[in-house]
């Protein structure tokens, strides 16, 4: 939980990212704004292709450019706009002040270097430690993420680790220089459920210990419900709903959020004949959106949705939603 510190460690305003491909432009991120406070965990949910990962990678220039191009916006890390700083400064931020964990631990580590080398790299780059000091720090980190026999495992290669252990190594790398912000891009998607639970526990534990802000990208709503303080729902490269975790699950306002929550199969009660799905595919936006991106799949669609793109509007304490329908403003009481 935020510890009374009300300043935002990371604040993103009006970020837009466009991919210039041979088949035309793809507007992957459209005017996304959000913020995180120290010690807070922001969950980002949405189905594949909703722009979650691209948004986060845009923050620290990890997208290959070309084709990616950050068109507008500002990314304030403690007030410093990362979109305007020099490449050299941006490299200091990456791995030093913002740590990144990627989805697939099987391919995210370099197969031909031992994990000790890979963990020590950012330590030596950002903290300027000697080789011996960096080694000590690496052992410390591996112990922190719960790898048994840490010292002996430094000289092991990634293929000698299981998937869960590799993801712990990735977390150790991301945490190496005590970052202010940790961005975790679906870190548990490629892992099985028991390992996932262990990783979640480690991250929750580390957040309490180290007090960093975490942005956790996932499409698993169960994970978000378990660990997030606030949740941001993305669709079509836009934020469609944003709320503290309890209001979001108890009182979802956006039709997309409701649909997402309905897709979770219930383990109690009568078994449904078919799993709930959201029909159709998320859109690929060839131009900046001028209408609601969810209109083609929305059960509540009406005229205005085709003519205007809804803006995010406050509907309660820290809860905002981008939808024109009266239901979104009034909440669930009106549904019944």
């Amino acid at each position: 939980m935020p510890d009374g510190d009300t300043r935002n460690v990371l604040e993103v305003n009006d970020l837009s990212t466009v991919f210039q491909t041979r088949g035309g432009a793809v507007h992957a991120v459209n005017s996304v704004s959000f913020h995180v406070k120290p010690g807070e965990l922001l969950g980002v949910v949405g189905e594949s292709g909703s722009g979650k990962s691209v948004t986060m990678m845009s923050l620290i220039g990890l997208l290959p450019s070309p084709p990616a191009e950050v068109r507008s916006g500002e990314v304030l890390l403690d007030g410093e706009d990362l979109l305007k700083v020099s490449p050299e400064r941006l490299r200091d931020v990456r791995g030093g002040e913002i740590g990144f964990i990627f989805q697939d631990p099987m391919t995210s580590l370099n197969p031909v270097f031992n994990v000790g080398f890979q963990i020590m790299e950012p330590i030596r780059r950002h903290m300027g430690l000697s080789k011996a000091q960096a080694r000590e720090r690496a052992v410390e980190l591996l112990e922190l993420v719960g790898i048994p026999g840490a010292r002996a495992r430094l000289t092991d290669y990634p293929h000698q680790f299981s998937g869960g252990m590799r993801q712990r190594v990735m977390i150790a790398i991301a945490l190496a220089c005590d970052p202010k912000v940790l961005i975790a891009d679906e870190p548990t998607t490629a892992l099985d459920v028991t390992i996932q639970a262990q990783i979640l526990e480690i991250v929750d534990d580390l957040r309490a210990k180290l007090g960093m802000a975490i942005v956790w990208i996932t499409h698993d709503l169960g994970v978000v419900a378990g660990i997030a303080d606030r949740v941001m729902v993305m669709y079509g490269g836009q934020v469609v709903e944003h709320a503290p975790v309890h209001p979001l699950f108890n009182d979802p306002r956006h039709p997309y959020t409701r649909a997402l929550l309905k897709t979770i199969p219930s383990v109690s009660g009568a078994r449904a004949k078919k799993l709930q799905v959201i029909e159709g595919q998320p859109p690929i936006l060839g131009a900046a959106p001028v209408a609601c991106p969810f209109r083609d799949r929305c059960p509540l669609v009406f005229d205005r949705c085709h003519q205007q793109n809804p803006l995010r509007e406050d509907v309660g304490a820290g809860h905002d939603v981008a939808c024109f329908h009266p239901l979104a403003q009034t909440g669930r009481e009106a549904v019944a």
């Binding site: 030093g96 580590l109 290669y157």
Partner: protein, 335 residues
Amino acid sequence: MLTFTIRRLFFAIPTLLFIALVIFMLLELAPGDPMANVPLTVPPEVKEQMRQALGLGEPAPIRFWKWIVQFFWIEPLNIFDALFGTSFAEGKLRIISWQNRAPVFIAIAERIPQTLWVVGTAYIVAILIAIPVGIYSAYRQYSVFDQAGTFVTMVGFSVPPFFSGVLVIIIFAVQLKWFPSIYDTTHVVDGWDAFVFQIRQMFLPVMVLALQITSQLSRFMRASMLDNLDQDYVRTARAKGLQERAVVLVHVLRNSMIPVVTVIALGVPQVFGGAIITEQVFKVNGIGQLLITAIQANDLPMVQTVTFIIAVLIVLFNLIADILYGILDPRIRYD
């Protein structure tokens, strides 16, 4: 790794014996007579006696066995004697060339330096050019540099050395008179001027050969780099805040070198084998030249021995490539 190497060396023995047999049988089947160049005035019975003197009267299995003994026992003894001044091989018959009745290995020892100087230099020059060019082409894919590189390598790859060799002779030796057109094998490097002359006479053949080898290697290097540049671990390396130089030259390069090193190692036997056409064009008296004249003269012991030495080198460098592969890629363990 050691057990693997020993096992592989052990398995190489039957392979090499089989290769030796195949070469021998092929040469046996080939038409041709070592006496073909003897003047017609020499009576047939004298020619027959000469054939007998060369050992051709013996049945093929006996001749094969004799060659095996000479190659694997008597010639190594001779090398040992030459190195340590002993006389273990005295009085034993060596592999004798049918052209000049001199031991085959002496001719090979005379020719090897020429080939290594010219072809070996070309190979090293090619590697030194191809690897940076391949790296940069891949890193800036479809840039002007990459496009130009692709064009030049396509030309270098598709123009045969008998054409490019003659072309550079016409341009640089005949028209511009910068370099000699013929390689002087008897030239001795004994001072600075002689060294400069050696470099000048090597320049054109090295250029022709290096163009061809660079073309192949740089394409290979580029493709291998491209395979690795969009891997997830590259993104991880960038997310750590490493310099682009470190990302490309440490993380990507190490992975990309794995297949390229194999190709380089497997190309080394060709260096020893010489570049037959280029050696002909520039009159370099190397191994390629030796082999081609031996074939023309039906000098079977020479052809058999040179071909077999090349086969040994190929087997050996296959093993070296496998070992290098194991060193570069920790995922590969042979034991």
